[in-house]
C-alpha cells in the first residue's frame, strides 16, 4: 500500500506542476463564460443554453484531462526512460499502474469539485433549481473520465503516447455512438450476421451513454430506479478489468 500511495502522490505532483492542466482549466472556464455571454442570444432558451454549456465544458474538460494525462503518464515513463530507475526499486508493476490510476483519479476528482462549483454558480445565476440529479450528472462525467483513463492506460502498455491519444479519442467517440449505432442497426432490414457483429462490437467497448445524465439534469428528469447503482457498477467493472489487463501486459513489457 505504501508504494501505491507514493506513486499516486508522485503522480499528483507531476500533474499539478504541468502547465497543460491549468491551460485546460482555463479553456473550460472560457467555454462556461461563453455560455453565459451567448445565452441571451437564444432568447427563451437562455437558461437551457447556458446550463448546457456549463455541463458540456465540464465534460470536455474532464475528458481532456483524463485522456491527455493518462496517455502520457505511462508512455512517458517508458519513452523518457524514467521507468528504468523506478523498476529497480522494490516496486511491482501492478503497484505502479494502480498508483498512477489513483493519482490521476485524485486530480480528476479535484477538477470535478472545482468545476461543480462553476456549474452551481451558473445554476444560481439563472435560478435553475438544484437537485440530486445535478450531482448524479457530475458523477457520470467522473465515471466516464475514469473509464477513459484506464482505456488510455491499457493502450499505453503496448503503444506510443501519440497513438494512445488517438485510440482513446476513438473509443470516446464510439462509446458515445454505441447506443445510436445499435438503434439504427436494429432498424435495418436483413443481414442478420452484420447486426450480430455490430452488436457484439458495441458490447465489447464501453458505452458512455450509460453514465450520461446531463440531459436529465437539464430537464429535471429523474433516473430509472437502480440506474445510478447499475451504471456505477458497470463503470467500475470496466475500470477493474482494464486495470488488470494493463497490469498483465505491463508485467511482460521490456523496460529497455
Amino acid at each position: 500500500m505504501k508504494n501505491i500511495f507514493l506513486i499516486a502522490l508522485n503522480t499528483v505532483k507531476e500533474i499539478k506542476r504541468h502547465k497543460i492542466l491549468y491551460a485546460l482549466g482555463a479553456v473550460v472556464i472560457f467555454i462556461m463564460l461563453a455560455g453565459l455571454v451567448l445565452g441571451p442570444l437564444s432568447l427563451s432558451e437562455q437558461t437551457r443554453l447556458s446550463i448546457n454549456f456549463a455541463f458540456t465544458s465540464c465534460h470536455i474538460g474532464l475528458i481532456l484531462i483524463s485522456i491527455y494525462f493518462a496517455s502520457t503518464l505511462i508512455s512517458h515513463e517508458i519513452e523518457k526512460k524514467t521507468a528504468i530507475t523506478l523498476f529497480v526499486k522494490p516496486i511491482s508493476r501492478l503497484q505502479f499502474i494502480v498508483g498512477k490510476f489513483f493519482g490521476l483519479s485524485f486530480i480528476l476528482l479535484m477538477a470535478l469539485c472545482f468545476l461543480t462549483v462553476f456549474v452551481l454558480v451558473v445554476h444560481f445565476i439563472y435560478k435553475h433549481s438544484i437537485g440530486p440529479i445535478l450531482f448524479m450528472a457530475m458523477w457520470g462525467i467522473f465515471l466516464e473520465a475514469l473509464i477513459l483513463l484506464t482505456v488510455a492506460f491499457f493502450f499505453s502498455s503496448f503503444t506510443s503516447s501519440f497513438l494512445v491519444l488517438v485510440y482513446s479519442g476513438l473509443i470516446f467517440i464510439i462509446g458515445h455512438s454505441a447506443s445510436g449505432i445499435i438503434f439504427f442497426v436494429n432498424k435495418m432490414e436483413g443481414d442478420y450476421f452484420f447486426k450480430v457483429i455490430v452488436s457484439i462490437a458495441t458490447y465489447l467497448l464501453p458505452n458512455f451513454e450509460k453514465v450520461n445524465w446531463r440531459a436529465h439534469a437539464l430537464y429535471h428528469n429523474s433516473l430509472v430506479e437502480g440506474e445510478l447503482l447499475f451504471s456505477s457498477l458497470y463503470s467500475f467493472s470496466w475500470i477493474i478489468c482494464l486495470l488488470v489487463i494493463t497490469s498483465i501486459l505491463f508485467e511482460r513489457k521490456q523496460i529497455a
Binding site: 505504501k2 508504494n3 507514493l6 508522485n10 505532483k13 507531476e14 506542476r17 504541468h18 523518457k80 526512460k81 524514467t82 528504468i84 530507475t85 523506478l86 523498476f87 529497480v88 526499486k89 522494490p90 516496486i91 511491482s92 511482460r252 521490456q254 523496460i255 529497455a256
Partner: protein, 298 residues
C-alpha cells in the same frame, strides 16, 4: 561470498514482429565477490547494458540463472539491497533534487522520513550539489544529473551498487570524487559492479574485471591476472649516486628480479609503476582475440 552470480545467461531480441531473433548475449558467466569493486568492460554494443538490464530484471532472459547474495533470485527484498545508476540517468524532471531522493528513498529504504531526509541532504552535500537541492531536475546540468543519479543509487544504503558508466559526463574533479566515493564504499563493505569505457578508472578502482566481447565473456578475473597475461611492462624508477634512472620489466617475475639486482647494487627504488597503457593493451588484446575461451576464475 558471491554477491552476484550469472550463469549461462542468454538473451535474444526480435527487432520487429516479423524479423528473426538476434542473439545479443550468447553465454554469460561471471560472479562478483563481496566487498570488491568489479569493472565491467566491453566495446559499444558488446552487451554490457543488456546484461545489466537482465541482471536487474528489466528485461526477461531467454535462459540462464542470475542469483544474488549467495543463491537468492531477484525479488523485492533483494532489490532493497541493490542500488543502480543507469547509463543515461533520466529522472522525473518536475521534482527537485531533494524530492527525487526522498521519493526513491521512501520506495527502498526502511528509514523514518526524518532520517531519510538527513541522509538525502548528507549525500547531496557529499556530491557537491546541496545548493541545488531545491531546484527542479530539469534545470540540472549533465554532470549534476549524474551526481543526483549516484545519490539515488546510494540513498537506501545498498549492499550491492551497480553503476552503468558512472563517470560519463563528469568533469575531472567530479570523476576524482566519484572514484574516491567508490573506494570508500568498498572500504565500508559494499560491493561495486560498474561498467565503464574509461580503462584508467577501472584500473585505478577495481580489483576484478569482467570483459565482454560480442555477447560473450572474454575475460573474468582479477585485473592483475589480466595484466599478467599480457605481460604488461612495469617501470622501475630508482636512484643511483643521486641520479634518477628508469628500467622496464616485461613481467612481474622480471620486475622482482630487477628490483633484487638493483638493491644488491645499493640503488634506492623510488617507484614501481605499471605501464599506463598496459590495461588498454590488455583490453585490446583480449577483445581482438578470436579465442574467447581463455576465462579465468576470480
Amino acid at each position: 561470498m558471491s554477491v552476484l552470480e550469472v550463469k549461462n545467461l542468454k538473451k535474444r531480441f526480435k527487432e520487429s514482429l516479423f524479423s528473426s531473433e538476434k542473439k545479443v548475449l550468447h553465454q554469460i558467466d561471471f560472479s562478483v565477490s563481496e566487498t570488491t569493486a568489479t569493472g565491467f568492460l566491453g566495446a559499444n554494443g558488446s552487451g554490457k547494458t543488456t546484461t545489466l538490464k537482465c541482471v536487474l530484471g528489466l528485461i526477461p532472459i531467454n535462459s540462464g540463472e542470475i542469483s544474488f547474495f549467495t543463491g537468492k533470485p531477484l525479488s523485492r527484498p533483494v532489490l532493497k539491497k541493490i542500488g543502480f545508476l543507469p547509463e543515461q540517468p533520466y529522472f522525473y524532471d518536475y521534482l527537485t533534487g531533494e524530492e527525487l531522493l526522498l521519493f526513491y528513498g521512501r520506495l527502498s529504504a526502511s528509514l523514518t522520513f526524518t532520517d531519510l531526509k538527513s541522509r538525502a541532504r548528507d549525500l547531496l552535500k557529499k556530491l557537491g550539489i546541496y545548493e541545488a537541492k531545491d531546484r527542479k531536475i530539469r534545470t540540472y546540468s549533465k554532470g549534476m544529473l549524474q551526481k543526483v543519479g549516484m545519490a539515488q543509487a546510494l540513498i537506501h544504503d545498498p549492499e550491492l551498487v551497480i553503476l552503468d558508466e558512472p563517470m560519463a559526463g563528469l568533469d575531472p574533479d567530479s570523476r576524482v570524487y566519484v572514484g574516491e566515493l567508490i573506494q570508500s564504499l568498498v572500504k565500508q563493505g559494499k560491493t561495486i559492479f560498474f561498467s565503464s569505457h574509461l580503462l584508467y578508472d577501472v584500473e585505478r578502482l577495481c580489483s576484478n574485471l569482467v570483459v565482454l566481447k560480442e555477447g560473450r565473456v572474454a575475460y573474468a578475473g582479477s585485473v592483475q591476472g589480466l595484466l599478467d597475461r599480457i605481460k604488461g611492462r612495469r617501470q622501475i624508477i630508482y636512484a643511483e649516486k643521486d641520479q634518477k634512472h628508469t628500467v622496464f620489466a616485461d613481467s612481474l617475475e622480471e620486475c622482482q628480479r630487477e628490483i633484487d639486482r638493483l638493491r644488491k647494487q645499493s640503488c634506492v627504488i623510488l617507484d614501481v609503476q605499471l605501464d599506463k597503457k598496459s590495461l588498454e593493451q590488455a583490453f585490446v588484446k583480449i577483445t581482438e582475440s578470436h579465442d574467447l575461451t581463455g576465462k579465468t576464475g576470480n
